[in-house]
Amino acid sequence: MSDALPRPWAARGAWDGVIAAGRQGCDRGEPGVRVSPREGLHLATIIGHRARSAELDRLLFEALGAEPPKTAQVARASDGDLIWSGPEQWLLASPSAELMRQIAARLAGVAAVSDQSDARGVLRLSGSQVRNVLAKGCLIDLHPRVFRPGDVALTAIAHIGVQLWQLDDGPTYELAVFRSMAMSFWSWFEGAAAEYGYEVIAGDPRN
């Protein structure tokens, strides 16, 4: 937790000891995929109740300047994203621990907020071959006509549950994997991306 006060207790990120920086797989030409782990991201599940959804929308709008999307979309706000995670359910992602605390407090009684900051490992994927790599495990259609920036999908890759959303037309995706399965996910990814070559860029592109 990057912005928390110094502690004797050191955090161990979901990708620590799993991903090593550098170029892997086929080494001819540009790497087909660029990968960067998103460290220090705070996550929380927000589950609303139909009866109180209007109120929830308002509170979240006040807090983030964005309303929770009602369909499989990401609402991107200045200091946090609201990622649709199912009916009446969102994943709030933000680098700011403070924001998370505020929102949890504000939503008390209106929606259920559960911290998931440590439950997922998030990767950012980009590059010319990223769709071809994902096609080797992800059962959904990522063609630009079908899946666009801001779209979200909950699905599975190689028997591992993932949540995936697109950032831009690059294309760039972000992908959240259950922490305990990060190692297995990566072993699938290495196999799938090897033929195009991939490069792991350490450190978070955002901060």
């Binding site: 937790m1 006060l5 502690r7 004797p8 207790w9 050191a10 955090a11 161990r12 990120g13 979901a14 000891g17 797989g25 086929c26 599940t45 589950i47 609303g48 109740h49 009866a51 009446e88 359910q89 259920a112 559960s114 911290d115 998931q116 900051s117 440590d118 439950a119 997922r120 096609a135 080797k136 495990g137 992800c138 059962l139 259609d141 063609h143 006509r145 079908v146 190689a158 028997h159 591992i160 259950f178 922490r179 305990s180 399965m181 190692m183 297995s184 996910f185 072993s187 699938w188 196999g191 799938a192 090897a194 033929e195 070559g197």
Partner: protein
Amino acid sequence: MTPFVSIKDARRAVQPFRLATGGAIDRSQPLRFRFDGKDHLGFAGDTLASALLANGVRFVARSFKYHRPRGVLSAGCEEPNALVELRTGARREPNTRATIAELYEGLEAASQNRWPSLAFDLLSVSAPLSPLLRAGFYYKTFMWPASFWEKLYEPLIRRAAGLGRAASDEDPDHYEKAIAFCDVLVIGGGPAGLSAALGAARTGARIILCDEDFCLGGRLLAERRAIDGRGAEEWLHATIAELESLPEVRVMRRTTVFGVYDHGTFGALERVNDHMPVPPQHEPRQRAWRIVAKRAVLAAGSTERPIVFSGNDRPGVMLAGAVRTYINRFGVAPGRRAAIFTAGDDGWRTVADLARAGVLVAAVIDCRSDIDPALATMARQAGARLVAGGRVVATHGAHGLKAIDVTDPSGHRERIECDLLALSNGWNPAIHLTCHLGGRPAWDEARQAFVPGTLPPGLSVAGAAAGRLSLGEALADGARLGLAAGSDCGFEGAPVGHAATDPESVAVAPVWRVGGSKGKAFVDFQNDVTDSDVELAHREGFRPVEHLKRYTTLGMATDQGKTSNLPGLAIMAKLTGRSIPQVGTTVFRPPYTPVAIGALAGHHRGKAFRPTRLTPSHAWAEQQGAVFVETGLWLRAQYFPRHSESDWLATVNREVTTVRTSVGVCDVSTLGKIDIQGGDAAEFLDRVYCNGWTALPVGKARYGLMLREDGFVMDDGTTSRLGDAHFLMTTTTANAAKVMQHLQFCHQALWPELDVCMVSVSEQWAQFAIAGPRSREVLRGVVDPEHDLSHEAFPYLAAREITVGNGLPARLFRISFSGELAYELAAPASYGDAAIRAIMTAGEPFGIAPYGTEALGVMRIEKGHVAGNEINGQTTARDLGLGRMMSTKKDFIGRAMAARPALLDPDRPTFIGFKPVDPSRRLRAGAHFVAPGKAASAANDEGHMTSVAFSPTLGHWLGLGFLRRGPERIGERVRAVDPVRDGEVEVEICDPAFVDPAGERLRV
């Protein structure tokens, strides 16, 4: 392996049957290959079959049952004869069709199903014996004496059967699965498929075009045709170029669409690197595709039909279309002196092509008596004898064709010398995929073939596959149906213009069987099914087509009867005086051509078979040299051995003793954790658990028992109340997902009106059990100072949110599986590693020991807690001795069914403890209980042992289990019999809480 001749010498090597010019092969790229130990030379663009033929090798295999010499019949995936073992060692692939195996430098192949050698095969059945081996012979004998079947007859049959030898080692190559989506899938890249793809592509729809061949073009590669007045190859190049230039078109060569599945899902196999000696680094050998399409156009073409006559399986007898393929596509003359046996005009194409290739055409035998004069002239010009209304009745040549016997309508019989006989009997549309969803084909009397009948939703059929056999029809169909498919998906485009083609005739009057001579006439070449086998099936009443198939094995070989099914049906039709459609076809099933198991498994083999879940303290545990064990998907520390320790038991004993006398720590993060919030959360728990929850105060935990609707126990665990409307449920490791799914069902489908929501937080929290008399002191050094941990402030079953490591949010539960003073500390998973290190440091003064699943199990058995071995889905709350937990004041899932008489039967085996009467004896789980003095028989079976452990605390083995009326029998003795391990131990029935039954240690 002996090295190949140098490429320089190789270049000089002659390929005696290779034509000087022509063909889609690259003569500048010679490739060396080896067949049965002999080196040969071919060219890039060859198949193994075309290269063998170019080198004059035409005897390439032995047949399945009679071990007869066999050659190359076809030039495609329908090949029944030319099956070889391709590659060697761990990459050996048996039954590989030489006709579609792409040649590559250094290819090695061997003939199969012969011993010791192809030419000299001791297994080849000599004529007099073969009548014994008629269809179904094995059903009629080998019955006496009974034991001889497994010992003698069956092993013989098994050794003789089977074709090639599978590799015995692990497959060294890797495979992939992938998924692709499109608007229109076009299956087949011949003229129909190409123009369908073009028609659809021009609408802007997303297109996938698959062809199993490594070149697009289909029959156009095999015939000399003209489109719009120019050579067809020009049209080919232009069309392929345009398709490949379009952004939304994906052309997939070497890709067979092998199956049609529900809702527009297709299975396809891409042979990514089978044309390479070994796959390049980082690349798979093959890729199995799941293709999802809104519309599909099947343009799979057609398969030529042989004729059934005596000796029709001799090397040198070949389908006419294949002959033309070898000449026109591969620049190979399949013989020097040819005869043509045809039932239609298409066969005549062969005459011209052979003549041009400089092959002498000895004769054309046309089954039809009145022949178009134009054809007659053609024969004359080629210097070929024309036998109108003739039949081929026999063939000669030991290992290959030397001559044929021909009769004319007058019955006059004569011998004609030839080393190649081209068969043309019309073509069968490749309708297989139209039937994969249960569709049945329709008979087309005019074309004398089965054509597509009921189609899978969204699939249309173009060209030869639809029975529209001419090039003109193929091009027109494709253009029309491609466009239609595109617009069905909401795209518009200009139609592909009409293309004019040179004239061609598809007229045919098929001849299914030429009778009247003795030797074997083969219907199914690969399974050695002859016309008289069909007769036998008929005679014995196996007349329904499916009985015919199963009794004779007709169409059950690797080619699935692509060339043999129809002749078989036709013969049966004649025998039963019915029409072919009345006889009907057997069921077409996937795959269209055989698919490697490895490809369909893809990445998921070895350790990657299923994901592995690692606990937050895994890295630390590895450093401690922990031994890990698979528990479901999780990998957990089983125990933490020390060098001094002789075996695992010593280690586990130490771990247990340390906990009981001081303190230990165990990672229990694998437990399912479900965050349950909402105004009705307590009410919800009341309905899903059999015990009550509304009265549970905030800050307290309680043991809960969950039943299935059928009244049996589903799961258990402690659930804590963190707030008025906030609970944290824990489930067993094994049932975490199942319970979540169940709760979601109860909420969404049964009681949506309840104000409750739930989410899994299993991955969020690292959880550690800190157990033992000194656990409080250890925690003192871990939990932030402001939290009072005294017994009074933090009593048994307290559950609170606290902080650790200076303000880090955490949770502390005073619960105990071990029966000692114990806590479970939950910290955010990222800090699991820090937590275990902090706990170990704080525990050092007390000699804290990390313990694994073994010690955990021992201690729960010492305490008589039930776990997975007891909650196995077959036990009720009463069986587990937990009947009292079932509330009588409320309704809950499982209440009604748990009240059924058989579930209340006092005689049901009930949970209880056991100890060996002789303390030195070991107990084993799985043993059954029999009363002393009674025979160890089912009648006296009173229950069984579910869990056992050696208790270092008590110094002997303990057991838990289910025994009829167990709790009433404490103090009694029974025998624990274990015949599968030749064991028997006398045990005393006792209270399952072996250690601290009163539970005093918990409350200090």
